[in-house]
Symmetry: C2
Amino acid sequence: MSEKSKFDKVSDLAFRRGLYFPSAHIYSDSLAGFWDYGPLGVTLKRRIIDLWRKTIVKRDEMLEIDGSQILPESVFKASGHLQSFVDPLTECKDCRVTFRADRLIQRRLEKLIPEALPSKELDSLILKNGIVCSECGGELSKVFKFNMMFRFSAGPKLGNQVALRPETCQSIFLDFLRVYKTMRVKLPIGIAQVGKSFRNEISPRRNLIRLRELTQAEIEIFFNPKNIESFTKFDQIMDVTLRFLLVNDQELELTAEEAVKKKIVQNKLVVYYLVLLKQFYELVGINPQNIRYRELHDEERPFYAQSAWDLEIKTSLGWLEVVANHYRTDYDLKVHSKGSKTDLMILDNGEKIIPWVWEDSMGIDRTLFVALDAAYTEEKKRIFLKLPNYLAPIQVAVFPLVAKDGLTEKARTLYDMLKVEFDTFFDEKASIGRRYYRVDEIGVPYAVTIDYDTLKDETVTIRDRDNKEQIRIKVGGLKDWLKLRLNFIPPNQ
Amino acid sequence: MSEKSKFDKVSDLAFRRGLYFPSAHIYSDSLAGFWDYGPLGVTLKRRIIDLWRKTIVKRDEMLEIDGSQILPESVFKASGHLQSFVDPLTECKDCRVTFRADRLIQRRLEKLIPEALPSKELDSLILKNGIVCSECGGELSKVFKFNMMFRFSAGPKLGNQVALRPETCQSIFLDFLRVYKTMRVKLPIGIAQVGKSFRNEISPRRNLIRLRELTQAEIEIFFNPKNIESFTKFDQIMDVTLRFLLVNDQELELTAEEAVKKKIVQNKLVVYYLVLLKQFYELVGINPQNIRYRELHDEERPFYAQSAWDLEIKTSLGWLEVVANHYRTDYDLKVHSKGSKTDLMILDNGEKIIPWVWEDSMGIDRTLFVALDAAYTEEKKRIFLKLPNYLAPIQVAVFPLVAKDGLTEKARTLYDMLKVEFDTFFDEKASIGRRYYRVDEIGVPYAVTIDYDTLKDETVTIRDRDNKEQIRIKVGGLKDWLKLRLNFIPPNQ
């Protein structure tokens, strides 16, 4: 590829075709970290969520909820977010630019700085190493804590303190007991949720990569840690291989079974969900060699996790975290039990317990980005998105070869027939080559062209996006031909 | 039905089966107006949105976007919300209960009070009519304006003023020009969006009816008012009848064509979208006699609308607004053009214009309620939800007649076969009658029972939710039998 970075090319394509773009872009005071999805992006995003729902949520018979985004502050007091969901910041005393202190020090010293290091220690690291503002060389302020939640009040006048959730999962913990009881389920049980979360990030960046308003697909698996050995679903996936990057920098490729035996991962339940996620990303179009699990250092782990694995994908930006996986133990139900003064224990096979939690926290915006990044292909002057057929926002294009002699009308009839079943696009403007180019760029798998022969013998050509090959088939068989290739068929599970 | 109101019965069912319930309910400081959807509610909500997308958005070839929920305050300054999205409140000086002044006066005087009446006039109405606190009889404070938007700051430290959108539509106006250009469309064009909106309502009430956090499905149709007569899609729907309630209290039933001819509705474009919505609600399961359009009085109309029609549905709570429809003229693009100092004009057939806007603003939570309310049926001791098959959260139940003699294993096999394609539920506990009762209550259209004959001749019974009739069919034909009845087939359009 040419000098422009691949990331920039993917972004250019996304803006050019309106997949996503900055929110409120016409206003000069619009803020970084807020993005809107345009028509093609909306569909791609929805298909990714549908795929997640089909291949993880439904496959594993999880329950899905949809909770409020605004929650009382008491929830975040109990969860620890009020205290701990903070960034240590420092501000330049001259130019007033704000930095995340730990990251700034980390970049300067080229070594890992623990997430939870006290402000005082950060202050002394800045002082000792003579770290100054990277913008203007000015002196830096003392480190101060900045809570990343958006907080405000609800209700009349002064009202109650509330916050926009910084992650979707709290509703899952709050609703756990009710859902468990009304749905009459048994442990282990997964509860899933897809929706928006909000974080007042100090430096949102790289389009969809670090957002202030993001879409997450989170799963909390509730289980009894004593019964982990009898987790039979493990048998379905024990032979699947996974790549690991351990805290000691060792890289490994192991089967699920080996990973448990060698105690690389916690237990059978954990490895089962790691496999489900890996298989999901393969279906998103990621080469399995570009999917790995990175073990998090003690210093990197969030406050609620006993151990953590990031599912990382190798992209044009390097290895990128797309799913954060946390072994949360009984932390969440315990703190909310205490915070709400509600008994959240359940009866599991006659034993009263607080369930433990394994969490898969997926970033949907980042997943959309990695799907595009992996699909982006240049072939001489041709750009095309090699998206899996079931993810393509537009599934089939219908073109009259030329816009005359009744070809347009014939093509319109075909379009009307197909559009009920497939996301279909019609175009009669410009040369046929130009039209192919435009649909290649947004990943349309098949383009159907109506030409003079169609009027004679009811046949059309179907052009394949990836290899540009064309075949000729009868109009009567077109729907079935497409259905066979466009609909998602779950792999053998 | 018995003494309990139908609304209470529907609510009881929803809570009992976890369709929806108060958010953060385990915390004592959880606020009214925030609700979570449980597993069955999530699926029902999603199916309603899918139906909207298929029968309105896709049918009309609209474009869908997904914009940020947090927007800079400048957007709402331009849109008028900062100034006009306010409730006039009054507080009891004794017990501190807050009331919406206009509604309180309206209830006491039993006459309509204009939405935009100045606070001073409300003050004098309270004084003149001796209106006091309905809780304790105390004196009421002077009326004060209360903006219903949740406002806070984003960005580091003091940051920029932002607000959670009180309606989804502003993103559609902000993104209009970009979407119009990147998607290379022509007027008239609809842009749709489904997502959350937020309003700090003074008195949220009746579960899903008045929420502080709600889901809307909004559509903005951009058109050139000069070309309205050549709106050909009108021809498809001119014979469809609609019910109207006019400002003069006249009730009418007219065809779309008559409604335009008699100048009851603005024009052909408006009536076309009124018909699409009415047809949608019929598919939701509403009797057409229970769907009407109420013309809004001058005093009731929001500040941006030149005329407005509420789509109302007759429910157990009386006639309920579910879609607000507004003739917004060029108000929105003009104010944002001015506010952002951006030229939002487009070239329509060689003429530079600011498009006009027709809006359909649907409440998804209310739509879910009316679907349940219409579906709720009592037949002696049996309660069942007569939901259209394509809306039922669980589509098919699989029961072994008894949990022994290999029937469970056989039923499990069948369940595993069906669950890939349908939302399927398995239950082996309790008597078969009790199990039918439980699935009736959540609207499962078909229950498949495996009995001793199944082991002999590979047949099963299928029981129909509505008439309780049972038929016996071969297992081999089951999938096709169900597919034919469960999948949504768009009506002839």
